[in-house]
Every structure is written in C-alpha cells, then in structure tokens.
Symmetry: C2
DNA sequence: AATCCATTTGACAACGCTGTCAGTTTGCTG
DNA sequence: CAGCAAACTGACAGCGTTGTCAAATGGATT
C-alpha cells in the first residue's frame, strides 16, 4: 500500500554529514548561523540521500502546515476560477505550499461552520478568497476572529493590514461605455451583476459615470438586474429587447450574461452587431469563440491570483507585506459583437 | 498569527471522560473493542470539548495523510476539469480526505520527477488521474512502481487490480454518427482528437463503425487530425470546407473543436445547420450557449469523478474494491447545430 | 467460589522534526 | 597570548497521535 523505499530521515543525513540533526534542520530551513563549510557538507548529504523532510513531523513540531486554503463559490458560471487556481497554484508550488480547495454553494446558511471546520480540520495557515467570497462580511469577519490571514481578490476597500487585490473595474466599465457612446449609441442597456459582488457595483458606477460625462440621459428602464449567470443575462436582455423602444446596445456585467444576451438577440432574429451591439466583461475563455466574438474587458486574473498567493505567503513567513496599493489594470478588448450605430 | 484558542488534545478528552488516551483514540477512530457505555462517555467529552484530532500528529504516528492528489493537464481547453474537481471534492470532503491539485503542462520531459516530488512532498496516499494523465504509460508506470494507488478516468482497458473509470465513448460516437446518417448526410467529416488520449481512438472507432454499418463510404480526405483545442478544430474544419466537395456535416471529437468548426463555417459565410451540420462531444458548459447550441454527447463526468474518488478511498481504507465494470453511459444531446440534409 | 477465556483498557514507546538553551569554537582586542 | 564577545553547534525535550503489548475486567463454566 505504501512506498517501500526506506524513508530517509534527518538522522540519516546528520550521520552521513557528521553533524547533529539540529544542524541539518538549520541548513534545510535556511536558518542563519551555519558555517558555509558545514552548510555545504550537509547539502551534499541531503542530495546524496535524496532527503525529503517529513511534512507531518514538521507541522507537528513547528506549527507550520504549509497549506493554504482557497474557498470559492461552486457556481459553474464563474469560469474565471480556473485562472485563479492556476495563478495561486503557480505561486504555492515553488514556495513549498500546498493549495487546498474548498467549494461552497451559496447561499449557505451554515457557511460559518463550514469554513471553521475547513480551517481547523485542514489546518490551513492562510486562505485565498476570490470574489465573491471576499465580499461576504461574515466570511472575512470569521477569519479575522480566528486570526487566519487571508487574501481577498475582490474590489472592496482594502482594510488595514489585510491583503486585498483589486483591479479598476470602474474605470474599465467607464471606458467600455464610452466606446459605445462614441460609436453613436445613446440607448445603452445595462445588465447588472449579482448584488452581493463588489464588482457589480463598480461596474454599474462606471457605466453611469460615462453616461453623465457624455451627457447621455440615464434611463432606469434600460437597466436590469442580473446575477452573473447565462440565464439571468438572457432574460434581462430579452426584457429590454421587447421594450417599445429597445436599446441599440447592451452592456452586460460579465461575459456569461453577455452570451445570454446574444442568445436572446438571436432568438428574436436580431443581427449582432448589425442591429444590436453587445459587450461583456471578463474575457473568459469562450468569449472569443462564440459568434460574434465578444467585445469585453480583460482582467489579469492569473496575475491577481498570483499576487494574492504571494502576498499571503509573505505574510505567513513574517515578511512585511508590501501591498501594491495600485489596482491592476483592466483592458478593453474590442471584438466583433459591437459596431457603430447603423443609420437605420 | 495563529488562532489563540487553546488547542484541545486527546489528553483533555481522556481526562474529561475518565479514560486513557488510547481509549479516546479507539473511539475517535471507530475501532472495535470498546464497551458501548465507554464509547458514549468519550463521545460526549469529544463533543463538549469540541475536540478535533490533530491531523499532523495522526499522520506522523499513523502513516495516513488523508490526502489524495489529483494530477491534471493544465490546458485551459479542457473544461471538463471543473466537473472532475467538483465530483472528486464532493466525495473526499465527507470522507475526511483533502484533495490536492497538481497541474502539469504537457508535454513535460520531467514529468516523472514532478510526479515523484508531488507524491513524496505532498505525501498523498492516492492519486486521481483524469484524462489524459491516465493515458500516459510513464505516469501509471511510475505510480505502480511507487506503489501509490490511483484511479484513472480514461477509456483504456482496465488493468487488473487498478481502478479505471470509463464510459462508452465508442457507442456514443457511433450513435451520433448514425444520427447524422439518418438525417441524410453521406459526406460526414470527422475531426480526430489528440492522439495521446484514449478517448480519441474510441470516438474515431465509433464513427467508422457507424459508416460501415450503414454502408457509407469512408473517405480519408474527410478526416483531419485535431488536438482537442479550439484552434485545431477551426483549422481542421476550414481545410475540409475549402475542399472541392466539402462535407455537409462535421463531427468533432470534442466541443472545443466543434466550436472552432462553427467559427470556421461562420467565417466562410456558411449557415449552421442550414448548409453545414456540426456536432461535438462532451457537452461542456458553453455548448448550449453558443449559437447555434451544439448537438453533442453528454458524459456523466461528475459521477465518474465521484466514483473514481470513492473507489480510491475504499482501496486506501482496505475495503475490497468492487469496481463497477460496466462503463458509464453517455447520452446524445440533440440541439440546433445539426439538421437534416437540405435538398439543395 | 474458583477457573478460564474473551473482551476491554491502559502504559508507554515510537513517529521525524523544530525550539530552547547550554556548550564549544572562532576571531578579535588589548 | 589571555580574554571576551560573537558565531556556531549539539543534546534533548516536546509536538499529539497511533501501535504494541501487557494488565485488568467480566461473564460463563466448572
């Protein structure tokens, strides 16, 4: 059942190198106060014997599990999770940390218990909280109370001493809206995101600011509530399109809803972008693969997750957390789902 | 930095219940030979003190890490991974296991070292290998040599005493091809999948068997090599469509390539399904959200991953692994990307 | 009541590492 | 070359469990 290879322990290395186990420990953990000469001798023994420290013993003795948790909403709609996983894993791996996933289905009345159990049972040292987990006050409150360091990836105001990774959603949304206005659209529909996500509000704010700046009247009838999923986008867009004076462009708060909007347009025989321009947000994997390819906003999710993990690990290791307080930059990606307002 | 709550240890519970620590251990681990009376007393103490066994100590002493690894190909194209994660996590969680992810970028010349390190360093007890990891002989060979139990999710012939989860790819492909033939198509293109994936061969075999069975001539010019990604599907389909006598239907070995095929058709101004029927395989999340929604084959990935994890855990716990030797059933999902051959 | 097993319980030694602290060596200073 | 601080090194005690094996208990049988 278990590997047969006789386990090499710290004692074997110590003997081989002619030092005490403590010295081996020092070398392996890069602690100071070891003569260069000695260090090399130990390193050699480590390599020759292929010594791999026993993680369980380390944890038991040193109180460091080297495990980081990642709690996420288990909604299949949020395709950005893959990027989050990849980014975080890419940092944890070389830093000697393991990443433990914990999906949660929201809303979850027992969320507190679930997280508490995850934190205790899986003995995680720190936790990464991609949106919308970082937006939930009960979650961040619990972790704060449990004194478990965490890094939230969400556009909320950074709390003091807490790691918070954000990007300029508001500005990107502003830019995207501006693009549509410049293309001649003046009846621009907006599909809001899930109200519990910080990003939803930022994106809506950018839209409104752009309208105001360019003197386009804000029409509440052209704003619909969505929930970041395909279906809600399809329904919200459908309602707007069935209006007496439908919009000539629709801005959805994410790509899933934009895809829903395209679907709704197609069902009504509308040509996109000829008769209706549609833009999304996120630049998910399939945004460029549906027809027409979506005009959208690309966020550097992988980098954001990398930064979250890196800062968290720094913090766990007691380094001063030099948070980069400038938000990450989003980028408007113009594809074929948007076009200048046709004279018709 | 760390939770302040004073840790409750097995000693506290023992004292509280008036028994020895060993008895507490027995109760907590559901071992036999404890008087019912005693058991209840201990359980009570456990609950009152909210005792949670220390995983590191357990592992150090008992040699059981309760960690399962999941090694996967880090190709963003394989959206079925989310289902695999969810299925496996759903089983591991309640069984008290943690799931550790290990993405690998293929081809990886150092794959052996990477896996060896993952297995040792992360001290996993067993490993889940979704396709195409289970298809790589060096991977299964290494795990066999290291005596690490694994569960492969891939359509290969089950090795004796090894857990192998598969579904009837071949039959599903046969059914899908048959559907197109019944709709009047007799020039049906086929885009093969990545040659290193067992599924590719099964799917191609089903296609050929259906052609033969219905007396449709097999035309090598209508078969192109793809690699399961969007781009390769787009290119392969493009080549076929540019042929003097293009096919009236194209069957792609997965949905990403089918999406690529739709894209290629659109670029050439072809109406799908009016002038070209396209079908895929996998029923990924966005298959029903692109236009036209894809006719495809749905595999019960979540269930397959659940079964893989469950059987693996059974094996780790020494239970007889009653492998369900009947493959899982795929299901043809008919949507709007396929239509009867138009008389034109 | 004495005897004998089967069942139940407990004492104690691992498990492999890091923290503590004391002991040893080294390199300077005067 | 003694004297001393600073730089190294090592002995040993935990960390919280489980495995081993001996001891205690209880019930059935003489």
């Amino acid at each position: 059942m278990k590997p047969d290879r006789p386990k090499v322990t710290i004692f074997d290395v110590a003997e081989h190198a002619g030092v005490s186990i403590k010295t081996v420990s020092r070398v392996v953990n890069n602690e100071p106060n070891v003569r260069e000469n000695t260090r090399e001798r130990v390193m050699l023994a480590v390599r020759e014997l292929r010594y791999q420290p026993n993680a369980a013993a380390r944890e038991l003795s040193g109180k460091r599990s080297r495990i980081i948790g990642l709690i996420y909403e288990n909604a299949e709609e949020f395709s950005y999770l893959n990027d989050v996983f990849n980014g975080a894993l890419g940092i944890c791996e070389p830093a000697g940390y393991s990443l433990l996933l914990r999906p949660l289905t929201l809303p979850d009345p027992e969320i507190i218990d679930h997280i508490r159990q995850f934190a205790t049972n899986a003995r995680v040292e720190g936790i990464v909280l991609p949106a919308p987990m970082g937006d939930l006050p009960e979650v961040s409150g619990l972790l704060r109370e449990m004194r478990i360091p965490f890094a939230a990836i969400t556009p909320r105001e950074p709390a003091p001493d807490e790691i918070n990774i954000l990007c300029n959603d508001e500005a990107a949304s502003h830019a995207l809206t501006e693009l549509l206005i410049r293309q001649g659209h003046d009846a621009i529909g907006f599909i809001k995101g899930h109200p519990d996500h910080g990003a939803s509000h930022k994106r809506f704010a950018g839209y409104r600011r752009a309208l105001k700046r360019h003197g386009v009247a804000y029409a509440p009838r052209l704003v619909r509530q969505g929930y970041f999923d395909f279906e809600s986008g399809r329904i919200a867009a459908g309602r707007m399109l069935d209006l007496p004076n439908p919009p000539s462009a629709v801005l959805a708060s994410n790509d899933d809803m934009a895809a829903g909007a395209i679907f709704a347009a197609r069902k009504r025989g509308l040509n996109v972008p000829g008769e209706l321009s549609i833009a999304g947000f996120d630049d998910t994997r399939f945004s460029s693969r549906i027809w027409p390819p979506l005009t959208t906003v690309r966020q550097p999710i992988v980098q954001m997750a990398e930064t979250a993990a890196a800062l968290l690990i720094d913090k766990l290791n007691g380094h001063s957390t030099e948070a980069p307080e400038t938000p990450f930059e989003c980028e408007v990606v113009i594809r074929e789902s948007t076009a200048p307002l046709s004279p018709a």
